[in-house]
């Protein structure tokens, strides 16, 4: 149970991403063309419920199933890192029609060539690690 719960959460995630068509390249194109409310509705309602849950967890100091207080890590304040990194990520997101989550789900759907995208994403992460100290943060 210690590890299998993460696999179950992932399975649920994969099914939701499929049934909501979030893993479709067309849906991402549609979102960036503002031609449907679908993606905005999904992200918006997920964030609204997430905000409520985060508020309640903090308000009532709820604990995890391991009995530890649930902690939220505040992000470090900076603009260049989030803006430049964000724009680069957005370029890749609209190109492939997938962010990291859907990449894994698409592999499960039998899109073998997505393994190439994933390998490229690993390389991109590695190259970021190599040049991290030289980039504005």
């Amino acid at each position: 149970m210690k590890t299998i719960k993460y696999i179950f959460a992932g399975i649920l995630f994969g099914i939701i991403m499929t049934k909501a068509e979030v893993i479709s390249w067309y849906r991402i194109q549609e979102m960036f063309r503002f031609q449907s409310f679908h993606m905005y509705g999904i992200i918006g309602s997920a964030v609204a419920l997430g905000m409520l849950a985060t508020f309640l967890i903090k308000r009532f100091r709820l604990r995890s199933i391991q009995g530890q207080p649930i902690a939220f890590n505040d992000k470090k304040k900076s603009i260049p890192r989030y803006l430049i990194g964000g724009v680069l990520f957005g370029l890749g997101w609209a190109m492939t029609g997938a962010c990291p989550g859907p990449l894994y789900v698409l592999i499960g759907h039998g899109f073998g060539v997505i393994l190439v995208v994933l390998a490229s994403a690993l390389l991109g992460t590695y190259v970021y690690g190599l040049f991290r100290n030289k980039l504005p943060h």
Binding site: Y26, I70, G85, W93, A94, S120
Partner: protein, 186 residues
Amino acid sequence: MLELIKQPWAWYIAGPLLALVAIALLFFGKSFGVSATLRTTCAALGAGKKTSFFHYNWKADRWNILFVIGAIVGGMIASQFLMHPTVSVSPDTVQDLQKMGVQDVSGLAPADLFGWQALFSLKGMVVLVLGGFLIGFGARYAGGCTSGHAISGLSNLQLPSLIAVIGFFVGGLLMTHYLLPLILQL
């Protein structure tokens, strides 16, 4: 019930369910974010020997590898048993894509861009290889992706996450409206 599952799910079903996955992870003592798996994988493959960024206790993050293995299995289950025939994408989008030269608007993605044969075309190479690279590089540079920033970060009212999400959209709009039409002509 089965009929209901076989239909595409509306946003007001999918969004809250997605939040439940993120909330479940909080109660497991973790934080929802998928792009971290890329860093964990680099570290597990031994990148820490060369670069300090990957030299950390990645074994503490092994849970996120299990999560994405689950996501792959979830995709398999959904494609085998829960799939609906077509993506109900807006007719305006279909029209725009056809103007850009994407004629076959079927399945989850155009086959000529997301099949193995795409690797033998310049536009396919650019989309798959450069696109993947930008996802990995950009997500780590920005400190997270759609799940980590747009869902977890915004839920926790983090200003950096809002900046990152604005960045995601600036990049996405640039690509969709200006660059992708050029790439598809390659």
